[in-house]
Amino acid sequence: MRGLGKYLLWVYAGLVMMFLLIPIVYTIVFSFNDSRRTNIVWRGFTFDNWLTVCNAQDVCSAFGNSVLIAGVSTVLATAMGTAIAIALVRYRFRFRQATTLLLFLPMATPEVVLGAGLAAQFLQIGAQKGLVTIIIAHTMFCISFVVVTVRARVAVLDPALEEAGRDLYGSPFQVFWRVTFPLLLPGITAAALLSFALSFDDFIITNFNAGPEMTFPRFVYTAAARGIPAEANVIASAVFFAAIALVLVSQVRAALKRRRLAIS
């Protein structure tokens, strides 16, 4: 009886893991489907979709828009978010509670509300919806996530290091650039990647605030009714592999670095 119970947990966890991965495998597999316009029934294995991915209807331009929007939003959100994170940890200021609440609320608000709110505002001021409004929206909801991520990193940064920098004749800018920033870089990078991923994959807020331009998720949504081309699967799979590769590379590098420091 004891033996059975011991394995139950592992089996259960394994099943859950499989459950998580099924749609991923499905999507990747169907990127190789020899489909015509729709990609519902399996017709045969082919590399064609991968080789001629941009032939399909506007998938690549949608992808390009998504990358552009994600890039710009990431830069803006990471810059503003990092500054806030440093201020939160290192400095005393009034209205700390209010600031923390302001940062937390976007993460707690459902996307429909965020999207509808911004759209309502753009409507009221008569702004034209387009790439710019999408970028504004994405930057907004990414800031909070950047703050949370970087803040964790700033909190473990020994303040004595910055003090040593000041003690050794570093002006405030020099201390930031040569001491604080390099040490925060892993956290800032993680925040930037998180922000990029959130922006790239966002649909709901984008849908409310977009003009005629397509982003990749919007493309998928509007194509869902009539059938999504396999090329969309190709792009999604490519992004997936790139992301996994990135994570694996960073993990391997970290492990090698640990080993190198331990040996010598």
Partner: protein, 308 residues
């Protein structure tokens, strides 16, 4: 969400951080100003826009989509009476999805965070697999389930062969598929926070429990679960809140049908299609208010204050 967000360890070789002495300096203002101003402009003000919009009234004799500022509080009444079932359905589906996500997510978080501690490579690999879903568009993942559950798919065919479901039944477009989709989508959001708290769990507490004659079930109930509560709370909030407002899963093109429509679908329809902005705004605010109320009650009773 990216891997790095959940890594809590300090880099190797770093000195232990001494007590944080916070300085008072004008620099803080310059650091805070851009981000705070941005959020006030593009988060706080839109909420006010929503409030104003929700009270607007149609321009007499105007086109569809033309509204003027007013104080038509009847908007709220109309919206609640028309969409009452949608509101209820949203909270029902979201609650079910949260419960299922907890039942599925806790064990896997436990296995990765506690059981795999002795095998750091397997632990890292499992963690990557846990967050892998984030790297593929969630729309495509949801569509994948739609196709897997479609009438032509092998799941439905198998179930019908074994006569587990009636021959004219369908799986897509049902409350089952919507809740299934929601559970699937938010499972990592539930599992990851639980993982981060379990990962830090000092196993000596578990050992102490065993040493003091508690069986494994009691140890879990009295020691492990209470200690993992902060993670459970974060996970629950991170799952429930977005789930109530989701409209992808319940959308007709994905896993839903017209009779499974949730609040999100209705808000989207009113805003983008019907151009009934006041209705959409009113609904959004009702959604937001209910969530805030529920969250406040929930966190008060469970006692967390470290939200960020």
């Amino acid at each position: 969400m990216a891997f790095g967000a959940f890594q809590s360890s300090a880099p190797p070789g770093a000195p232990v951080a001494s007590a944080q002495v916070q300085r008072k300096s004008p620099v803080a203002l310059w650091l805070l100003l851009p981000g705070v101003l941005y959020l006030v402009l593009f988060f706080v003000t839109p909420l006010f826009s929503l409030v104003i919009t929700s009270f607007e009234e149609p321009v007499p004799g105007g086109f569809m989509g033309e509204f003027q500022t007013g104080f038509r509080w009847e908007n709220y009444v109309e919206v609640v009476s028309t969409y009452f079932s949608h509101i209820g359905r949203s909270f029902l589906y979201a609650s079910l999805a949260t419960i299922f996500a907890l039942l599925l997510g806790y064990p896997i978080a436990y296995v990765i965070g506690v059981k795999l501690r002795r095998y750091p490579l397997a632990q890292a690999l499992s963690l990557v697999l846990l967050i892998a879903p984030f790297f593929i568009s969630f729309l495509l993942r949801t569509l994948a389930w739609k196709q897997i559950f479609s009438d032509e798919g092998f799941v439905v065919a198998t179930l019908k062969t074994f006569q587990l479901i009636p021959s004219d039944a369908y799986l897509t477009g049902t409350p089952f598929s919507v809740v299934f989709g929601l559970t699937y989508m938010f499972l990592p959001f539930m599992a990851l926070p639980i993982y981060t708290t379990l990962e830090k769990l000092d196993l000596r507490f578990v050992e102490a429990g065993g040493d003091l004659y508690a069986n494994p079930f009691t140890v879990f109930r009295k020691i492990t679960f209470p200690l993992s509560l902060p993670g459970v709370i974060s996970g629950t909030l991170l799952t429930f809140i977005p789930a109530t407002g989701d409209y992808i899963n319940a959308s007709r093109d994905f896993l839903g049908a017209t009779d499974t429509a949730m609040m999100g679908n209705v808000i989207e329809a009113n805003f983008l299609v019907l151009q009934n902005f006041p209705a959409a705004a009113a609904l959004s605010l009702i959604l937001m208010a209910s969530i805030l109320v529920l969250v406040t009650i929930y966190t008060r009773r469970s006692g967390t204050d470290e939200l960020l």
